[in-house]
Subunit: 326 residues, 3 copies
Amino acid sequence: MARHEHNNIQLDAEGRLRHFLSIEGLDRELLTRILDTAESFAALPGRPVKKVPALRGRVITNLFFETSTRTRTTFELAAKRLSADVLNFNVSTSATAKGETLLDTLRNIEAMHSEMFIVRHSQSGAAHFIARHAAPGVSVINAGDGRHAHPTQAMLDMFTIRRHKGDFTPLRVAIVGDVLHSRVARSQILALNTLGVTEVRVIGPHTLIPTEARTLGVHVYHDLDEGLREVDVVIMLRLQKERMDGALLPSEEEYFRLYGLTNERLERARPDAIVMHPGPMNRGVEMDSEVADGPRSVILQQVSYGIAVRMAVMSMCIQTHAESPA
Amino acid sequence: MARHEHNNIQLDAEGRLRHFLSIEGLDRELLTRILDTAESFAALPGRPVKKVPALRGRVITNLFFETSTRTRTTFELAAKRLSADVLNFNVSTSATAKGETLLDTLRNIEAMHSEMFIVRHSQSGAAHFIARHAAPGVSVINAGDGRHAHPTQAMLDMFTIRRHKGDFTPLRVAIVGDVLHSRVARSQILALNTLGVTEVRVIGPHTLIPTEARTLGVHVYHDLDEGLREVDVVIMLRLQKERMDGALLPSEEEYFRLYGLTNERLERARPDAIVMHPGPMNRGVEMDSEVADGPRSVILQQVSYGIAVRMAVMSMCIQTHAESPA
Amino acid sequence: MARHEHNNIQLDAEGRLRHFLSIEGLDRELLTRILDTAESFAALPGRPVKKVPALRGRVITNLFFETSTRTRTTFELAAKRLSADVLNFNVSTSATAKGETLLDTLRNIEAMHSEMFIVRHSQSGAAHFIARHAAPGVSVINAGDGRHAHPTQAMLDMFTIRRHKGDFTPLRVAIVGDVLHSRVARSQILALNTLGVTEVRVIGPHTLIPTEARTLGVHVYHDLDEGLREVDVVIMLRLQKERMDGALLPSEEEYFRLYGLTNERLERARPDAIVMHPGPMNRGVEMDSEVADGPRSVILQQVSYGIAVRMAVMSMCIQTHAESPA
C-alpha cells in the first residue's frame, strides 16, 4: 500500500485505521472498508453473530467516564464475539478518585497489556486527548464525547442504510430534531456526505439547529412536512428531556405536534423510506408508536448491526498493531 | 413426540420447555427430565461442575430489577459452565431510567442477539409478562417474581431431595415458616405434589399461612412438634426481618421458641430426615447452628446443585430454539 | 519431596503453597519458585501475556470488602489469562447485608465450586481468618488486609527488582515514606530480607516509622539524602492523604520538601538505581514528575509484572489442590 502523507492521528503511516475517533478525515474508501468488514461479521437475519477467534488473548478496556449501559454492553458483546477479554473501568470509582491523574490511569491500564480503550466522556475531545497520549501499540475508539462525535453509531447507521438501500449515491436523508446538541447527528452528516449521498437535510426548530449547520453541507428545514418530502431515509434524534427546562423548547406535546413523526407525516417521504432512531426512544415525543413499531422502522436492526460494526472497527484497529513493524 | 394440546406459554408446540416461569402447568415427566438433565451436569461430590460447550456463542442476559448477588451469581456461573456469554443488566441504572419503556429495553437486548433472559422482579407476574412479549427465538427464566414463584430454587430443592431420598413417592415433607410471603414455598409445594410425594405439610403461625393453603394440597400445622412427626424432609423458609415490624410476628426470640428448629425438635422427624434452607439463613431465628451445621443439614449441597439445575433448565430451553422449525 | 514439619497455614503437608497470605513463614526457595513461575508467564517486553489453559473450568472469586478497582482488575486479568472463570463479590452489596454471617457467605461461594478466594479487607488478619475456615480444596490469596500484608504486591516488586538487578544478594534497598501504615512496606521488608539483600533501609519522619522497625531487620533513616546514599533500589510508598489531617504530617509541600524524590536527590543513589512506587501515585508529593517519568522509573513495569506474578501465585496454589491426595 502506498505510503500516505497525512497528519490524521486516526491513521497509521500506511493509511490504515489505528484509532476510531471521528468520521472527520476518513475517506470514502475507508468507511466502505469498515462496512464491508462488518458485513463479514453480520450473520443471516435472526441468527446470532458468529463467535470468531480474531482477538483471542487480547485485552480491551471500556473506559466510561459517563454511564451508558447500552453502549458499553454492545462494545462488550462485540469484544466477546471476537474472543477478547474485556475490562470494565467505571472511572468515577477507580484510582482517579484517589488523586491519580487521568494519564497515570491510562498508563497503568496499558501496563496491564490492554491494547484498546473504548472511551465515553461528557467532554468533547476527550477521546482525541487519550489517543494522542496512548502508547504505540494501543488503539482508542470513541464511544461518544460531549457534543462532538459518536462515530460507531454513525457507522452502524450507514450499515443499516446500505443494507436497505444498497447504494448511497441517489439517497436523500433527513435528520430530525435536536441537531445542535447531538454528537450522533454530527457524525452522521459527515459519514453521509463522505459516502456521497445526494442530499442531507436537517429538520428542527431554530433553537436546535446550529447556526453553522449549512457549512456542514446540509440543507436546513424548520418545517417537518416540507423537509420530509421525497426523502429515502428519516433519522429521528433523541430529544434530551433536560432541554425542556431551558428556553430551547416548548412542551413535549408542542414538540411532538411540530416535529413528532406520524404515519401521516411519513407519507411525504418516498414510499419505501426507512425510519431510524439511535435510542433510547421517547415514544410520543420523537415519534408515535405506530411509526416506531411499523413496517418502515429499522430501529432494532440498527441495534443488531451495531455489534457487527463495532466488531469491524475493533478488529481493523487491532489488526493494525499486529502488522505494524513497531 | 405427540403434538400436545395446551395453552401453556412455557411449552412449545411439541410440549418442550421454552420458558421456565413457574412449576404450574409442568407435568411429572417434564420435571423429571429437568432433574435427569441436571444429573448429567452434576459432577461427583467435591469435584467442580464440568465446563461444556453446549451454549458456546450464545448470549444470556441477567435482567435483574431486584438486587440479588447470590442468585445472579449462580445463574452467571451456570451460563459460564455452558460456555455462554453473559450480560448483566441492572435495570435501575440502564436505559429504562432514561424514559425508555420496559418493552423497548427488551427489544433492544433481543436485537443484541440475546437468546435468554433471566428475570428477577419484585412484582408477581413480571417474568410471565416478559415471556409473553419475547421474540420467537428468546426464552425467559424466572429467577423470582414477587410472592409468585421461584421455580429454579424449587427444582434445586427437588434435586437435593432426590439425591438423598431416591424416590419421591413415599416422602412426607414439611415446609416451615413464612409460607404466606414465600415464592419459594409456593413453587416447592407445586413441585412436590407434581412429583407425587405422599404428603406436603406447611407449619407456621396463623398469620404466616395463607388462608387458601389447603387448596394447594397441603396439610396445615401450627405446632412445630406435631408437624415434624415422621417427616423425611424439613424445609425451613427464610424469615424476612421486615415482617417483624408489622403485627404479623412476635419478636425473633419468640419466633425461634415456637418455630425455630433445634436438634431436640428434629427428633420428631424420621431418623434419616434431611434439613434444607434456601438461604440466606438467619442463625438463631429459623434454626440454631447445631442443626444448620449438623449431619442432617444439606443446605450447602442445595447451593451446589443449584448450578447443575440451572444449567439443565438453560440448556433445555435453548435447545428448544435450535430444534424449532422457526 | 521431604515431608515438612511446620504449622504454617500457608503450606500443605508437602510444604507446597496452598494459601498466599503473607511473606512471613515462606523461605527463600519458595519465594524464588514464585518468581521463576512468574518468569514463565511474563512475555517479552511489549508483548501481551500469553493466555494459557492452566485453570480452565476453575472458578476464582474476588471477595473485596474494600473497593480497589486496580487490584481487583489485575487479579481478574491474571485469572482470565489462566482461562479461569471469575466471580466478583462486592461484599457490601451481597448477602452479608441480609444478616448472613461472613462464614455462611464463604460456605455458599465454596458450594458454588469456587476454588480460590482473592480477599481484600480493611482489617488486619481477615485473609488469615478466611483461610483458617476455608474448605480443604479452597485457597485464599491476600490482596491486602489492613496494615498487615500485601504479599502479591511485594512479590511483583521482587520480580521487578530481579528483572533489573539479577541477583538480590549485593543490593541495598531504601523504602521511603509512610512505613507505619503500609502493608506494602511490611511485606517488602520481609521479602527482601528473605531473599538475602545486603541491606534494607526505611526512610521517613519519626511519626511514620514504627518504633519496632529495627526488629524487622532494617536500618532507619530520617534524612532522605543520607538514606539514599549508594542504594540500588528506591521504593517510594504512597502517602495516604488522610494522614495529613491528623498531627502525623506537616503539609504536602513540607513533606515533599523533606521526603519527595527529585532527580537531584536521586544522585545520592547508585548511578543505575531504579525507582519504584506501588501506585496510585501523588505526583509532586512522593516524587516529582521528572523522576516518575524518567529513565530510572520502573513503575509501569511493576504493573505489568503484577499480572504474571499473580498468575504464578494462583496457579501454584490451585496446582496444590489438584495434586493433593485429598
